[in-house]
Amino acid sequence: MSRDDFMKHLKNITKTLPLLLLPLASSVYATDITATLSFSTLPVITVAEETPMDFGEVLSLSQADTCAMDVLAGPNIALADEGFAVTAGSAGGGTLSSDCSGSGQPGVYTITSFSGADITVNLTLGTPTDISFVPVGNLIDVGGDARVPVAVGTGSDATASTAINAYTLAGTNRIIVAGTITNQAPLTSGGIYNADFNIEVVYQ
Protein backbone atom coordinates (compact mmCIF):
# COMPACT_ATOMS: atom_id res chain seq x y z
CA MET A 1 0.00 0.00 0.00
CA SER A 2 1.39 3.40 -0.95
CA ARG A 3 1.63 6.22 1.54
CA ASP A 4 -1.22 8.06 -0.25
CA ASP A 5 -3.44 4.99 -0.06
CA PHE A 6 -2.60 4.56 3.61
CA MET A 7 -3.51 8.18 4.37
CA LYS A 8 -6.80 7.80 2.47
CA HIS A 9 -7.69 4.74 4.56
CA LEU A 10 -6.72 6.55 7.72
CA LYS A 11 -9.02 9.46 6.84
CA ASN A 12 -11.87 7.06 6.17
CA ILE A 13 -11.30 5.38 9.52
CA THR A 14 -11.15 8.78 11.19
CA LYS A 15 -14.48 9.73 9.62
CA THR A 16 -16.06 6.43 10.53
CA LEU A 17 -14.85 6.27 14.10
CA PRO A 18 -17.30 8.80 15.59
CA LEU A 19 -20.16 6.90 13.99
CA LEU A 20 -18.90 3.69 15.50
CA LEU A 21 -18.59 5.29 18.90
CA LEU A 22 -21.99 6.96 18.76
CA PRO A 23 -24.04 3.97 19.89
CA LEU A 24 -21.57 3.37 22.69
CA ALA A 25 -21.75 6.96 23.78
CA SER A 26 -25.54 7.07 23.67
CA SER A 27 -25.76 4.14 26.07
CA VAL A 28 -24.36 6.42 28.72
CA TYR A 29 -27.59 8.41 28.59
CA ALA A 30 -29.90 5.52 29.44
CA THR A 31 -30.47 3.34 32.42
CA ASP A 32 -32.48 0.24 33.10
CA ILE A 33 -34.16 -0.78 36.28
CA THR A 34 -35.59 -4.22 36.66
CA ALA A 35 -38.64 -4.53 38.84
CA THR A 36 -40.00 -7.88 39.90
CA LEU A 37 -43.59 -8.73 39.22
CA SER A 38 -44.87 -11.22 41.72
CA PHE A 39 -48.11 -12.96 42.44
CA SER A 40 -49.44 -16.30 43.51
CA THR A 41 -52.49 -18.10 42.35
CA LEU A 42 -55.03 -19.04 44.95
CA PRO A 43 -54.09 -22.16 46.89
CA VAL A 44 -55.16 -25.63 45.92
CA ILE A 45 -58.66 -26.32 47.20
CA THR A 46 -58.98 -29.28 49.51
CA VAL A 47 -62.05 -31.16 50.71
CA ALA A 48 -61.81 -33.11 53.93
CA GLU A 49 -64.31 -35.48 55.46
CA GLU A 50 -65.29 -34.48 58.98
CA THR A 51 -68.11 -36.97 59.50
CA PRO A 52 -68.75 -39.94 57.18
CA MET A 53 -72.23 -40.37 55.79
CA ASP A 54 -73.99 -43.40 57.24
CA PHE A 55 -77.56 -44.49 56.54
CA GLY A 56 -77.44 -47.16 59.23
CA GLU A 57 -78.98 -50.63 59.15
CA VAL A 58 -82.04 -49.51 57.32
CA LEU A 59 -81.95 -50.64 53.71
CA SER A 60 -84.78 -52.77 52.45
CA LEU A 61 -83.64 -55.70 50.36
CA SER A 62 -85.71 -55.51 47.21
CA GLN A 63 -84.26 -54.36 43.95
CA ALA A 64 -85.28 -50.81 43.02
CA ASP A 65 -86.17 -49.92 46.59
CA THR A 66 -84.98 -46.51 47.66
CA CYS A 67 -83.93 -44.87 50.86
CA ALA A 68 -83.70 -41.08 51.07
CA MET A 69 -81.87 -39.07 53.72
CA ASP A 70 -82.85 -35.46 54.20
CA VAL A 71 -80.09 -32.91 54.28
CA LEU A 72 -81.90 -30.42 56.46
CA ALA A 73 -84.70 -32.15 58.38
CA GLY A 74 -83.56 -34.31 61.20
CA PRO A 75 -81.61 -34.40 64.43
CA ASN A 76 -78.12 -35.26 63.32
CA ILE A 77 -76.56 -32.03 62.10
CA ALA A 78 -75.62 -29.35 64.62
CA LEU A 79 -74.28 -25.84 64.37
CA ALA A 80 -70.78 -27.14 64.91
CA ASP A 81 -71.18 -29.36 61.83
CA GLU A 82 -72.18 -26.44 59.63
CA GLY A 83 -69.24 -24.46 60.97
CA PHE A 84 -71.05 -21.18 60.82
CA ALA A 85 -74.15 -19.83 62.48
CA VAL A 86 -76.51 -19.24 59.60
CA THR A 87 -78.99 -16.59 60.64
CA ALA A 88 -81.99 -18.07 58.87
CA GLY A 89 -83.14 -21.39 60.30
CA SER A 90 -81.43 -23.98 62.41
CA ALA A 91 -79.14 -26.84 61.53
CA GLY A 92 -80.45 -30.36 61.13
CA GLY A 93 -80.55 -33.32 58.82
CA GLY A 94 -80.64 -37.08 58.66
CA THR A 95 -84.34 -37.94 58.53
CA LEU A 96 -84.87 -41.06 56.44
CA SER A 97 -87.83 -41.67 54.20
CA SER A 98 -89.17 -43.76 51.32
CA ASP A 99 -88.36 -47.48 51.80
CA CYS A 100 -86.59 -46.79 55.09
CA SER A 101 -87.23 -44.87 58.28
CA GLY A 102 -85.55 -43.35 61.26
CA SER A 103 -82.53 -41.13 60.89
CA GLY A 104 -79.08 -41.47 59.51
CA GLN A 105 -75.93 -39.42 59.66
CA PRO A 106 -75.40 -36.94 56.84
CA GLY A 107 -71.84 -36.47 55.70
CA VAL A 108 -69.99 -33.37 56.84
CA TYR A 109 -67.14 -32.06 54.69
CA THR A 110 -64.85 -29.08 55.04
CA ILE A 111 -63.85 -27.19 51.91
CA THR A 112 -60.66 -25.21 52.40
CA SER A 113 -59.96 -22.58 49.78
CA PHE A 114 -58.86 -19.05 50.67
CA SER A 115 -60.16 -16.33 52.92
CA GLY A 116 -63.00 -14.57 51.16
CA ALA A 117 -62.72 -16.70 48.04
CA ASP A 118 -65.78 -17.24 45.90
CA ILE A 119 -66.20 -20.90 45.08
CA THR A 120 -68.56 -23.05 43.06
CA VAL A 121 -69.43 -26.51 44.30
CA ASN A 122 -70.78 -29.38 42.25
CA LEU A 123 -71.86 -32.86 43.30
CA THR A 124 -71.34 -35.68 40.85
CA LEU A 125 -72.30 -39.32 40.82
CA GLY A 126 -69.96 -42.11 41.70
CA THR A 127 -69.88 -45.64 40.27
CA PRO A 128 -72.98 -47.75 41.01
CA THR A 129 -72.53 -51.19 42.48
CA ASP A 130 -75.29 -53.11 44.23
CA ILE A 131 -76.62 -49.73 45.24
CA SER A 132 -76.45 -46.35 43.54
CA PHE A 133 -76.38 -43.05 45.31
CA VAL A 134 -77.55 -39.63 44.22
CA PRO A 135 -76.24 -36.94 46.58
CA VAL A 136 -77.84 -33.68 47.59
CA GLY A 137 -76.31 -31.14 49.87
CA ASN A 138 -76.43 -27.86 51.67
CA LEU A 139 -73.45 -25.67 51.10
CA ILE A 140 -72.87 -23.23 53.93
CA ASP A 141 -72.26 -19.89 52.29
CA VAL A 142 -70.40 -17.99 54.98
CA GLY A 143 -70.16 -14.80 52.98
CA GLY A 144 -73.82 -14.89 52.05
CA ASP A 145 -74.98 -16.16 55.46
CA ALA A 146 -77.13 -18.89 53.91
CA ARG A 147 -77.50 -22.58 53.23
CA VAL A 148 -77.27 -23.05 49.49
CA PRO A 149 -78.84 -26.24 48.10
CA VAL A 150 -76.50 -28.32 45.98
CA ALA A 151 -77.63 -31.05 43.62
CA VAL A 152 -76.02 -33.16 40.94
CA GLY A 153 -75.40 -31.05 37.87
CA THR A 154 -76.24 -27.81 39.62
CA GLY A 155 -73.28 -25.69 40.53
CA SER A 156 -73.83 -23.72 43.70
CA ASP A 157 -71.88 -20.69 44.77
CA ALA A 158 -70.56 -19.62 48.14
CA THR A 159 -67.96 -17.39 49.68
CA ALA A 160 -65.41 -18.74 52.10
CA SER A 161 -65.13 -17.38 55.59
CA THR A 162 -62.78 -14.51 56.21
CA ALA A 163 -62.19 -15.10 59.89
CA ILE A 164 -61.76 -17.93 62.30
CA ASN A 165 -64.77 -18.74 64.46
CA ALA A 166 -65.61 -21.22 67.16
CA TYR A 167 -65.97 -24.07 64.66
CA THR A 168 -63.87 -23.48 61.56
CA LEU A 169 -60.82 -21.65 60.27
CA ALA A 170 -60.78 -18.72 57.88
CA GLY A 171 -61.01 -19.65 54.22
CA THR A 172 -63.37 -22.56 54.73
CA ASN A 173 -66.92 -23.67 54.00
CA ARG A 174 -68.76 -26.71 55.17
CA ILE A 175 -71.04 -28.80 52.99
CA ILE A 176 -73.60 -31.21 54.44
CA VAL A 177 -74.41 -34.08 52.10
CA ALA A 178 -77.22 -36.60 52.19
CA GLY A 179 -79.14 -38.17 49.29
CA THR A 180 -80.95 -41.18 47.99
CA ILE A 181 -79.89 -44.80 47.69
CA THR A 182 -81.49 -47.02 45.08
CA ASN A 183 -81.00 -50.77 45.21
CA GLN A 184 -79.58 -51.91 41.89
CA ALA A 185 -80.00 -55.58 42.82
CA PRO A 186 -81.61 -57.59 45.60
CA LEU A 187 -79.61 -56.99 48.75
CA THR A 188 -78.51 -59.45 51.37
CA SER A 189 -79.71 -59.17 54.90
CA GLY A 190 -76.96 -57.81 57.14
CA GLY A 191 -74.78 -57.02 54.15
CA ILE A 192 -72.67 -53.87 54.13
CA TYR A 193 -73.00 -51.77 51.00
CA ASN A 194 -70.96 -48.79 49.95
CA ALA A 195 -71.43 -46.18 47.29
CA ASP A 196 -69.42 -43.17 46.35
CA PHE A 197 -69.94 -39.66 45.04
CA ASN A 198 -67.77 -36.64 44.30
CA ILE A 199 -67.59 -33.09 45.59
CA GLU A 200 -66.02 -30.83 43.00
CA VAL A 201 -64.97 -27.31 43.96
CA VAL A 202 -63.53 -24.58 41.79
CA TYR A 203 -62.81 -20.90 42.29
CA GLN A 204 -65.36 -18.70 40.60
Binding site: T31, D32, T34, L37, T41, V44
Partner: protein
Protein backbone atom coordinates in the same frame (compact mmCIF):
# COMPACT_ATOMS: atom_id res chain seq x y z
CA UNK B 1 37.30 57.11 18.46
CA UNK B 2 34.04 58.25 17.03
CA UNK B 3 33.34 55.02 15.07
CA UNK B 4 33.85 52.94 18.18
CA UNK B 5 31.19 54.90 20.13
CA UNK B 6 28.70 54.42 17.26
CA UNK B 7 29.35 50.69 17.29
CA UNK B 8 28.65 50.48 21.07
CA UNK B 9 25.31 52.31 20.70
CA UNK B 10 24.23 49.99 17.92
CA UNK B 11 25.20 46.97 19.97
CA UNK B 12 23.23 48.24 22.97
CA UNK B 13 20.05 48.81 20.92
CA UNK B 14 20.30 45.35 19.38
CA UNK B 15 20.68 43.79 22.78
CA UNK B 16 17.58 45.56 24.07
CA UNK B 17 15.51 44.46 21.10
CA UNK B 18 16.78 40.90 21.39
CA UNK B 19 15.99 40.84 25.07
CA UNK B 20 12.43 42.05 24.46
CA UNK B 21 12.01 39.47 21.76
CA UNK B 22 13.13 36.71 24.08
CA UNK B 23 10.57 37.85 26.69
CA UNK B 24 7.69 37.48 24.19
CA UNK B 25 8.79 34.01 23.16
CA UNK B 26 8.90 32.79 26.80
CA UNK B 27 5.25 33.74 27.62
CA UNK B 28 3.64 30.53 26.22
CA UNK B 29 2.04 28.50 29.01
CA UNK B 30 -0.14 25.36 29.04
CA UNK B 31 -3.54 25.52 30.70
CA UNK B 32 -5.98 22.67 31.50
CA UNK B 33 -9.67 22.82 30.96
CA UNK B 34 -12.10 20.39 32.55
CA UNK B 35 -15.39 19.13 31.08
CA UNK B 36 -17.56 16.31 32.31
CA UNK B 37 -20.11 14.39 30.35
CA UNK B 38 -23.75 14.65 31.28
CA UNK B 39 -24.35 12.51 34.36
CA UNK B 40 -25.98 9.21 33.72
CA UNK B 41 -29.64 9.02 34.51
CA UNK B 42 -30.33 6.66 37.39
CA UNK B 43 -33.47 5.16 38.79
CA UNK B 44 -34.29 3.50 42.09
CA UNK B 45 -37.41 2.44 43.97
CA UNK B 46 -38.73 4.80 46.62
CA UNK B 47 -38.70 3.44 50.16
CA UNK B 48 -42.05 1.99 51.09
CA UNK B 49 -42.96 1.35 47.45
CA UNK B 50 -40.32 -1.14 46.40
CA UNK B 51 -42.43 -4.06 45.21
CA UNK B 52 -44.97 -4.73 42.53
CA UNK B 53 -47.15 -7.53 43.79
CA UNK B 54 -50.62 -8.86 43.23
CA UNK B 55 -50.46 -10.98 46.36
CA UNK B 56 -51.76 -14.52 46.63
CA UNK B 57 -55.01 -13.55 45.03
CA UNK B 58 -54.82 -14.54 41.39
CA UNK B 59 -57.42 -16.97 40.09
CA UNK B 60 -55.38 -18.88 37.56
CA UNK B 61 -58.36 -20.52 35.90
CA UNK B 62 -59.86 -17.21 34.75
CA UNK B 63 -58.58 -17.36 31.20
CA UNK B 64 -59.11 -14.05 29.45
CA UNK B 65 -59.80 -12.21 32.69
CA UNK B 66 -57.58 -9.61 34.28
CA UNK B 67 -56.46 -8.29 37.61
CA UNK B 68 -55.32 -4.69 37.95
CA UNK B 69 -53.36 -2.85 40.63
CA UNK B 70 -54.51 0.66 41.42
CA UNK B 71 -51.83 3.20 40.57
CA UNK B 72 -52.57 6.38 38.68
CA UNK B 73 -56.26 6.35 39.55
CA UNK B 74 -55.50 7.02 43.20
CA UNK B 75 -52.13 8.72 43.40
CA UNK B 76 -50.61 9.37 46.82
CA UNK B 77 -49.34 12.90 46.15
CA UNK B 78 -47.11 12.96 49.21
CA UNK B 79 -45.22 9.90 47.97
CA UNK B 80 -45.16 10.73 44.30
CA UNK B 81 -44.20 14.31 45.20
CA UNK B 82 -46.46 15.89 42.68
CA UNK B 83 -49.22 18.45 42.81
CA UNK B 84 -51.93 17.10 40.60
CA UNK B 85 -54.70 19.32 41.89
CA UNK B 86 -53.13 22.43 43.38
CA UNK B 87 -56.47 24.13 43.83
CA UNK B 88 -57.97 21.16 45.62
CA UNK B 89 -57.14 19.00 48.58
CA UNK B 90 -54.25 16.61 48.55
CA UNK B 91 -54.96 13.15 47.26
CA UNK B 92 -54.04 10.61 49.93
CA UNK B 93 -54.06 7.63 47.61
CA UNK B 94 -55.81 5.40 50.10
CA UNK B 95 -56.52 2.66 47.55
CA UNK B 96 -53.09 2.84 45.92
CA UNK B 97 -51.89 -0.74 45.45
CA UNK B 98 -55.30 -2.34 45.80
CA UNK B 99 -56.21 -5.00 43.28
CA UNK B 100 -59.44 -5.66 41.46
CA UNK B 101 -60.75 -7.59 38.50
CA UNK B 102 -62.28 -10.93 37.60
CA UNK B 103 -58.93 -12.72 37.77
CA UNK B 104 -58.34 -11.93 41.40
CA UNK B 105 -60.27 -11.98 44.63
CA UNK B 106 -62.40 -8.92 45.08
CA UNK B 107 -62.02 -6.55 48.00
CA UNK B 108 -58.50 -7.58 48.81
CA UNK B 109 -55.94 -4.98 49.73
CA UNK B 110 -52.70 -6.89 49.78
CA UNK B 111 -51.43 -5.83 46.37
CA UNK B 112 -48.59 -3.33 46.07
CA UNK B 113 -47.56 -0.80 43.43
CA UNK B 114 -44.08 0.62 42.99
CA UNK B 115 -42.88 4.21 42.93
CA UNK B 116 -39.56 4.75 41.19
CA UNK B 117 -37.48 7.92 41.38
CA UNK B 118 -35.58 8.95 38.28
CA UNK B 119 -32.54 11.16 38.82
CA UNK B 120 -31.11 13.09 35.89
CA UNK B 121 -30.29 16.63 34.82
CA UNK B 122 -32.56 19.47 35.82
CA UNK B 123 -34.69 20.69 32.97
CA UNK B 124 -33.81 17.81 30.68
CA UNK B 125 -36.33 15.40 29.25
CA UNK B 126 -36.28 11.65 29.24
CA UNK B 127 -38.27 8.85 27.72
CA UNK B 128 -39.53 5.99 29.85
CA UNK B 129 -40.38 2.59 28.48
CA UNK B 130 -41.94 -0.33 30.31
CA UNK B 131 -42.20 -3.51 28.30
CA UNK B 132 -44.98 -6.05 28.57
CA UNK B 133 -44.13 -9.37 30.18
CA UNK B 134 -45.44 -12.53 28.58
CA UNK B 135 -45.15 -15.17 31.25
CA UNK B 136 -46.34 -18.74 31.53
CA UNK B 137 -50.09 -18.48 31.49
CA UNK B 138 -50.31 -14.73 31.82
CA UNK B 139 -49.42 -11.38 30.26
CA UNK B 140 -48.47 -8.29 32.21
CA UNK B 141 -49.01 -4.83 30.80
CA UNK B 142 -48.15 -1.58 32.58
CA UNK B 143 -51.60 -0.25 31.62
CA UNK B 144 -52.88 3.23 32.32
CA UNK B 145 -52.34 2.61 36.02
CA UNK B 146 -48.61 3.08 35.42
CA UNK B 147 -47.50 6.62 34.70
CA UNK B 148 -44.58 9.03 34.77
CA UNK B 149 -44.76 12.48 36.31
CA UNK B 150 -44.00 15.14 33.75
CA UNK B 151 -42.86 18.27 35.56
CA UNK B 152 -43.78 21.09 33.24
CA UNK B 153 -41.64 23.48 35.28
CA UNK B 154 -44.33 26.08 35.12
CA UNK B 155 -47.03 27.27 37.46
CA UNK B 156 -49.52 24.88 35.99
CA UNK B 157 -50.59 21.46 37.08
CA UNK B 158 -48.11 18.66 36.59
CA UNK B 159 -49.37 15.47 35.08
CA UNK B 160 -48.69 11.79 35.45
CA UNK B 161 -48.51 10.56 31.88
CA UNK B 162 -49.98 7.14 31.17
CA UNK B 163 -47.72 4.24 30.24
CA UNK B 164 -50.58 2.33 28.64
CA UNK B 165 -48.71 2.53 25.36
CA UNK B 166 -45.50 1.24 27.01
CA UNK B 167 -43.49 4.35 26.04
CA UNK B 168 -43.68 7.95 27.22
CA UNK B 169 -41.44 10.63 25.74
CA UNK B 170 -40.71 14.23 26.64
CA UNK B 171 -40.85 13.69 30.37
CA UNK B 172 -39.54 16.83 32.04
CA UNK B 173 -37.17 16.55 34.96
CA UNK B 174 -37.90 19.03 37.70
CA UNK B 175 -36.26 22.40 38.03
CA UNK B 176 -37.01 24.13 41.30
CA UNK B 177 -40.18 22.38 42.19
CA UNK B 178 -40.99 24.69 45.07
CA UNK B 179 -41.47 27.47 42.56
CA UNK B 180 -43.64 25.34 40.40
CA UNK B 181 -47.11 24.97 41.79
CA UNK B 182 -48.51 26.95 44.66
CA UNK B 183 -51.21 25.24 46.63
CA UNK B 184 -54.23 27.44 47.00
CA UNK B 185 -56.27 25.94 49.86
CA UNK B 186 -54.92 26.15 53.34
CA UNK B 187 -53.61 22.83 54.50
CA UNK B 188 -52.69 21.54 51.11
CA UNK B 189 -49.05 20.75 50.61
CA UNK B 190 -46.75 22.11 47.96
CA UNK B 191 -44.64 19.02 47.49
CA UNK B 192 -41.00 19.72 46.80
CA UNK B 193 -38.80 17.39 44.81
CA UNK B 194 -35.07 17.88 44.41
CA UNK B 195 -34.10 19.32 41.06
CA UNK B 196 -33.35 17.03 38.18
CA UNK B 197 -35.70 14.34 39.33
CA UNK B 198 -39.05 12.87 38.56
CA UNK B 199 -41.02 9.93 39.83
CA UNK B 200 -43.11 7.24 38.23
CA UNK B 201 -45.71 4.67 39.26
CA UNK B 202 -45.30 1.06 38.24
CA UNK B 203 -48.61 -0.71 38.63
CA UNK B 204 -50.36 -2.63 35.86
CA UNK B 205 -52.59 -5.47 34.80
CA UNK B 206 -52.15 -9.23 34.69
CA UNK B 207 -54.33 -11.10 32.21
CA UNK B 208 -54.64 -14.86 32.41
CA UNK B 209 -53.80 -16.61 29.13
CA UNK B 210 -54.67 -20.13 28.03
CA UNK B 211 -54.20 -22.70 29.45
CA UNK B 212 -54.25 -20.74 32.69
CA UNK B 213 -52.15 -21.14 35.81
CA UNK B 214 -52.66 -23.96 38.28
CA UNK B 215 -53.70 -23.34 41.85
CA UNK B 216 -50.98 -22.72 44.37
CA UNK B 217 -48.38 -21.45 41.89
CA UNK B 218 -46.04 -18.55 42.75
CA UNK B 219 -44.82 -16.34 39.92
CA UNK B 220 -41.90 -13.88 39.99
CA UNK B 221 -40.77 -12.40 36.68
CA UNK B 222 -38.70 -9.31 35.84
CA UNK B 223 -40.18 -6.16 34.37
CA UNK B 224 -37.72 -3.98 32.45
CA UNK B 225 -38.02 -0.22 32.82
CA UNK B 226 -35.75 1.79 30.52
CA UNK B 227 -35.12 5.51 31.02
CA UNK B 228 -33.27 7.40 28.30
CA UNK B 229 -32.20 11.00 27.89
CA UNK B 230 -33.71 12.59 24.82
Amino acid sequence: MQPTQRFNKTLLASALILSAGNAFNASAENFTITATGIPDVVAAPVAGFTTLAFGANIIGSKIGSSCTIVGSTDIPEASLLVDLAPTGTDNAGTTFGDISGAACLASTTDGAAMIIEIDGVAGSTVSVEVLDVVGTGYTYTPSAESCVVDYDNATTVDTCVSLAGNLVTGVGMSLVQSANVTETPTGATDYALATGKTRMILAGTVTIDAPGIAQGVTVADPILVTITYE
